[in-house]
């Protein structure tokens, strides 16, 4: 057993999970900011991104060092490649949170549409769940868990579509219109968090099966 390699792999996974946890915190924070229309909290979330970024950097550095030093092959190599992708996905998730935070700040004076906020809450909690499931199944090399993400994602997508419908129906009020234009992006961001979770799931599947496969293909919707 190559102790050095396994240690490095463990460290890498731990850093990734750490990053995942921070992303989830970020997501919660920004949803609170949306719910409570709290620009300060939004600022904190924006600042908190540095934390995630530092983990992102750490993972990148670890990956580079590991590849340079340990020559991983086969499943070890797939693990490292998966880690690269997951790292990117998580960093994007955090960025999306930042985007949401920024959008929130732009429209915090507008009193929000309650139904919409509820939809967002639902999407966010689904997103959080998906992130958890994705990381969890990654750690457990759990193919079924990873594949279950597709179904979860469908739920978020549906919520997103509902939000778009709702916003389109919203009409009139110019301030609300701006708000709506911003919120459609928020919704899209939340939806994309789900997409990233699916990406992570795909990486798990790749890690386990050794095959590249997209769970869903944007250009070939089922």
């Amino acid at each position: 057993m190559r102790i050095g390699l396994q240690e490095d792999l463990d460290t890498l996974q731990a850093t990734l999970l750490d990053e995942g946890e921070l992303c989830i915190r970020s997501l919660r924070g920004v949803m609170q900011a949306v719910r409570e229309r709290d620009p300060e909290l939004a600022d904190e979330v924006i600042a908190f991104d540095d934390e995630v970024d530092s983990r992102y950097m750490a993972v990148a550095q670890e990956v580079e060092s590991l590849l340079a030093r340990q020559t991983p092959v086969a499943s070890d190599l797939r693990f490292v490649l998966a880690a690269i992708h997951i790292n990117l996905a998580l960093e994007r998730v955090a960025d999306l949170c930042v985007t949401i935070a920024k959008l929130t700040k732009l429209v915090y004076e507008v009193s929000p549409d309650v139904k919409l906020i509820e939809a967002f809450e639902e999407m966010a909690s689904r997103g959080e769940e998906m992130l958890r499931v994705s990381l969890d199944s990654f750690v457990k090399r759990d193919l079924a868990g990873a594949e279950s993400l597709v179904d979860l994602d469908e739920l978020i997508d549906r919520a997103n579509r509902r939000v778009v419908q709702h916003l389109m129906a919203l009409g009139g009020n110019p301030s609300l219109r701006e708000w709506g234009l911003r919120m459609i992006v928020v919704s899209r961001c939340l939806e994309r968090i789900g997409d990233h979770a699916v990406d992570i799931g795909e990486q798990t599947a790749y890690l386990v099966t050794g095959e590249f496969r997209e769970f869903t293909d944007a250009s070939h919707p089922d």
């Binding site: 102790i3 050095g4 460290t11 924070g29 670890e62 030093r69 457990k140």
Partner: protein
């Protein structure tokens, strides 16, 4: 910094993560000031019958680090590592220039006894070289010649334990060491060296004669041993240096006036640095296999 109040969120639990451990295992090496210097090499050069084989090497070797020397064949790695325990004194015609301080004491000062030096600074060689004696006698040899014969049995057992060999040989301590496999023999040589309780272990290509599996075990062992010892290792296998070493020194060869080849130190840095962003073009060319 993290002002998102944790109390507001249920603790996020993810299986298999121990965030503290991650922090503790942090890759970056201790800062230069915090490292304890074992060897301070100052402008070292070695010549064989007048031909400089190695020139003007200055570096510091730190305690409880694995320090690797890499470089093309003939660049003087072996020559260099043999300076640390006076093994060059056995080669007629070899001369040392410059200084090596060992805990601030000149290793080549007058009055320094090579035997005492070699007691403190052990060495493991390229090819496993067990003595043609029993396993026990191999390990006991060092203590015996140094007169450390009290509690010899425990000493031998301890050394074998440390070298991760005890379980494999405990039932046949009296059997010939030549009956061991190559990898076991090399671990025996390590145990032999540990039995005299050195502070530093020098290894000149310790795994180059071994198959990959035995090599892995030796590398693991080095990883283990660095907790208690300071290890200097010469290796041809860059991947090996990359895997086991904390610090790596890259040596190369310059051609002097009359086609004479002299080894020089090109770069000495943290291993990660050497293998991801070497600062010297020659190092980069060597590690990426673009040399020559």
């Amino acid at each position: 910094m993290v002002t998102v109040p944790e109390s507001q969120t249920v603790p996020v639990t993810l299986p298999g993560v121990n965030v503290d451990a991650v922090a503790e295992r942090g890759r970056p090496l201790p800062a230069r000031e915090l490292r304890e210097v074992v060897f301070d090499v100052q402008g070292l050069g070695v010549s064989y019958s007048g031909n400089m084989a190695l020139q003007d090497v200055s570096l510091e070797v730190y305690r409880n680090f694995v320090t690797a020397f890499i470089g093309p064949s003939g660049c003087g790695k072996s020559t260099f590592i043999r300076c640390f325990n006076h093994m060059n004194a056995l080669i007629p015609g070899a001369r040392i220039h410059g200084r090596i301080l060992y805990h601030e004491q000149d290793l080549y000062g007058t009055d320094v006894d090579p035997v005492e030096v070699r007691k403190r600074i052990g060495m493991v060689f390229q090819k496993p070289n067990p003595f043609p004696k029993s396993i026990y006698d191999n390990v006991a040899f060092g203590p015996r010649v140094l007169g450390m014969t009290d509690g010899l049995d425990e000493r031998v057992e301890r050394a074998l334990h440390q070298a991760a060999l005890w379980d494999e040989v405990k039932d046949r301590l009296k059997a010939s060491a030549l009956g061991l496999s190559g990898g076991q023999q090399q671990r025996l040589c390590i145990a032999r060296c540990l039995a005299v309780e050195p502070e530093v272990i020098l290894m000149d290509e310790p795994a180059s004669a071994l198959d990959p599996i035995a090599t892995t075990r030796i590398e693991d062992l080095m990883h283990e041993l660095k907790r208690d010892y300071t290890i200097i290792v010469v290796t041809h296998n860059m991947q090996q240096a990359a895997r086991v070493a904390d610090m790596t020194a890259f040596f190369s060869v310059t051609r002097g006036g009359e086609g004479q080849r002299t080894g020089i130190l090109i770069e000495y840095d943290a291993t990660d640095k050497i293998f991801t962003q070497p600062s010297d073009k020659r190092t980069e060319d060597y590690v990426t296999g673009r040399f020559g």
